[in-house]
Amino acid sequence: MQDMPEQRLQKIQGFLEEGDEILDGWMGKVLRVDLKGKKVSSQPLSREQTQLFLGGRGLGVDVLFREVARGTDPLSPENKMVFATGPLTATGAPTSGRYSVITKSPLTGTIFDSNSGGHFGVQLKRCGWDAMIVEGQSEKPSYLWIHDESAEIRKADHIWGYTTHKTEDAIKSETDKEAKVASIGPAGERQVLISAIINDKHRAAGRGGVGAVMGSKKLKAIAVLGTHEPTIASRDEFTATSRVSLEAISKNPVTKDSLPNYGTTVLVNVMNEIGALPTMNFQRGYFEDADAISGETIRERIFEKRVACDACTIACGRETKIPGRDRRGEGPEYESTWAFGAACGVRDLEAIAEANYLCNEYGLDTISTGSTIACAMELSSAGHLSSGPAFGDAEAMVSLVSLIGEQHGIGKDLSEGSLRLAERYGRPEFSMSVKGLEIPAYDPRGIQGMGLAFATSNRGACHLRAYMISTEVLGNPCLIDRFKIEGKASLTILLQNISAAIDSMVLCRFSQFAMNPDHYAGLLHTATGVPFTARDLINIGERVYNLERVFNTREGLGRKADSLPARLLETPLSEGHSKNTTVALAPMLDEYYKLRGWTADGVPTASTLAELKLGEASKQIVESYAI
């Protein structure tokens, strides 16, 4: 325990003062934390910001765009982190128990938002904050304790080096056992470029190295506990619209059966069946041993019980236990199962679960970690990495996770992600990544729209910017031909826009299987009293997507960055139900830029930005690129 004076909570000046405008749904306040000056302060959330960006991802992108200058080193004190909730967080709206972390990624150099479930986000908002901006860099390890309108920067020397689980236990014992904690593990402390932020022990703001940014600021953790509630504009109507959304979730085959029964790993067999389960670092699209790592097998062998985030009836989370060992945790989810399984040619489910648990404890992104190990396996099999791991070697795979988390031995090379690793050994094409972010568990050669979505994602290869799998494979809201390119640009844009809006409301993207744009607009309208329509939401999503794009353009990214690894563009799969196909990216990309109102180089035009009320962004682009 620390000295009492340092533990005293500081009531933040400016918190809900007389005359402040109350915005239904939002708390109306943003907490700003200056780690260098050790100051915490409050600033109002403007009505204009809420109308233009809602919250979450949108709000964070707006802050980053305005406050983080072009060329900022992501691991420098000048980079900032925004922890943001949305207007529906803590309202009880279906699947609203999430939060976003927005920063400039050290892995990709792009704008980045990473999103996590659990209970942390709800408590952050209940403290009275829509968002928290963390800036500067602490001289020594520290953690934040936020309790309602009070906040304190505390020393964290004594817990520096702890795993995320141990960190959470220690901080709860020092603050409040009911507090919710988001922390980094040894990986984030060492600024591993694929490190994550872990909250509620098992939930991750996983991708893009957001843990490394937190580590660079020597911020070990954030603990939150609050008692405030956002006001709801129309309680009865909000309850009614929530009920309609809940009914939709309870009637959709994916959200009523597949996810509750098998979790996200239900996709292992689905993707393998269509020949799009990337195997052995995307050398194949079919994994003979898929059944050994499927959702059905997980349920049979390691499943203990279902776990739900705050305000969620789907409960896709799995508490699991490795039989015969004193090892339990949550997951692995589909992406993690794939990354440590098919991607590495590993069929040992217990090893996959162990690798997943280790990632949560070290604070690592499972997708990038598994995919980087798969890249190392291919480098090794091609003779570039002497005594490196071999495909299928489960033991080596597990031990590499620890080595990456500790940046020890070969793990140091792998800790920078697959692109830097492959470049170091002269084979950049072995990195299955876009903009430096490892591609998740869907081989786009069998799913054309997903290929375009990966290529045009503003944060690098991400399946959630536009989850085209939903329509191209799962038939939600309807099944479209996964091999065709016709119409894919338009649908990718629609899903990117609505997804950006959902991320800015900070709802779980799984709700999208069942809920339609009108459902989302109904929830937002009745909670905030602002008559948002579905079309408004799509426009807000488009604004967020374009502002992200401007941020990246400002950093020098253009069409060249909107590509896929050569393997996916040139080498057809040789087996399975997606064989003889590659991604026809160029024509889809041309159409995509045209429909987006961007130049042929992928730069948003001044008129597009003006239409989206992004005047400031437009001005910067015009000045920088003379468009």
Binding site: L479, D481, E486, K488, A514, N516, R535, N580
Partner: protein, 306 residues
């Protein structure tokens, strides 16, 4: 059968959620269903404005009382002779009569599929006998339905095109109000080609019901294109969709408003019954496969994902 993007878009433009809901029979026919589920589908049908609930005859009283307690306008369709249609005419007639007495407002009966197939397979005299049998089988139910509309389930996956046409004509002769594709327990779902054939045969005189495998708005729109592609047919007395996914269909229609690209033309084989013959008896499968070989769209079968 090919359905162009433009055609699908045109159908979608005719539809609003409430209207689509009014064409849906909210269906629960599983053998293991519990009472609370029946009450639940009644509540849902009432909330969403579906045309009817479709249940097994043993649940008619439950559904009727529950809907009456809500003063609901939702109809109650009872299946009869379900799912095989191989009961005696008397037993089908009794089941229909009993269902009506207990509150059914519509009857969905299964035709005697075997007898329909005998018509084409028999000599002229025997064929006539079989035709009369099928007609009597249906008309006995129509009489006991006491004015309530009777939908005749043809189980199209067991029939050739010629037999589908024959069954439609007999149904009309026997006084049926609708012809319906499938039970959902047979070898095939509702496919546009069968629906189109049924509509062409019965014209605007009878209704057509697509049942089996319609789970989202795009499948619903394809069915409507095939069997109800005119404003005067988009009425609950001329077209229905039988599905347990009604809520999902109506919910998903909202997405159609925000992009035209959902309506790109599907590879014709993917919506063709000849591509889904694996559960058919061999002699029927042979007919479908033969038809496929002479189809102008046969080139698509060389496409990778079949």
């Amino acid at each position: 059968m090919r359905i162009s993007s433009q055609s699908l878009r045109q159908v979608a433009d005719l539809l609003v959620e409430e209207q689509l809901a009014g064409l849906i029979d909210h269906t629960e026919l599983k053998p293991h269903v519990l009472r609370r589920k029946i009450r639940s589908i009644c509540d849902e049908a009432d909330t969403h404005g579906f045309a009817a609930v479709c249940v097994n005859s043993c649940w008619v009283r439950e559904a009727s009382e529950h809907l009456r307690s809500k003063s609901s306008r939702v109809g109650i369709a009872s299946v009869v002779g379900f799912p095989l249609g191989q009961m005696s005419t008397e037993s089908k007639a009794f089941e229909a009569s009993d269902a009506i007495a207990k509150g059914a407002t519509e009857i969905d009966m299964v035709v005697n599929v075997g007898k329909v197939r005998e018509i084409a397979a028999s000599s002229a005299d025997e064929s006539r006998t079989m035709r009369n049998f099928v007609r009597e089988d249906i008309s006995a139910v129509v009489k006991k339905a006491d004015g309530a509309p009777v939908k005749v389930i043809l189980e199209t996956g067991y029939l050739t095109d010629q037999e589908i046409v024959e069954a439609c004509r007999i149904s009309e002769d026997a006084g049926a109000a609708f012809v319906k594709t499938s039970t959902g327990f047979g070898p095939m779902s509702a496919y546009p080609a069968h629906l189109k054939l049924m509509r062409e045969t019965v014209g605007e005189r009878l209704g057509v019901k697509a049942a089996g495998g319609v789970t989202n708005f795009l499948e619903a729109i394809r069915s409507i294109y095939a069997a109800a592609n005119a404003p005067n047919l988009l009425r609950p007395d001329k077209f229905r969709i039988g599905t347990s996914n009604g809520i999902n269909i109506v919910n998903s229609l909202s997405w159609a408003k925000y992009d035209d690209s959902w309506f790109t033309e599907e590879v014709p084989c993917r919506i063709c019954p000849s591509n889904y013959v694996s559960k058919q008896p061999l002699e029927i499968q042979t007919v479908y496969v033969k038809k496929c070989k002479t189809c102008p769209n046969n080139g698509y079968r060389k496409f990778k994902d079949f």
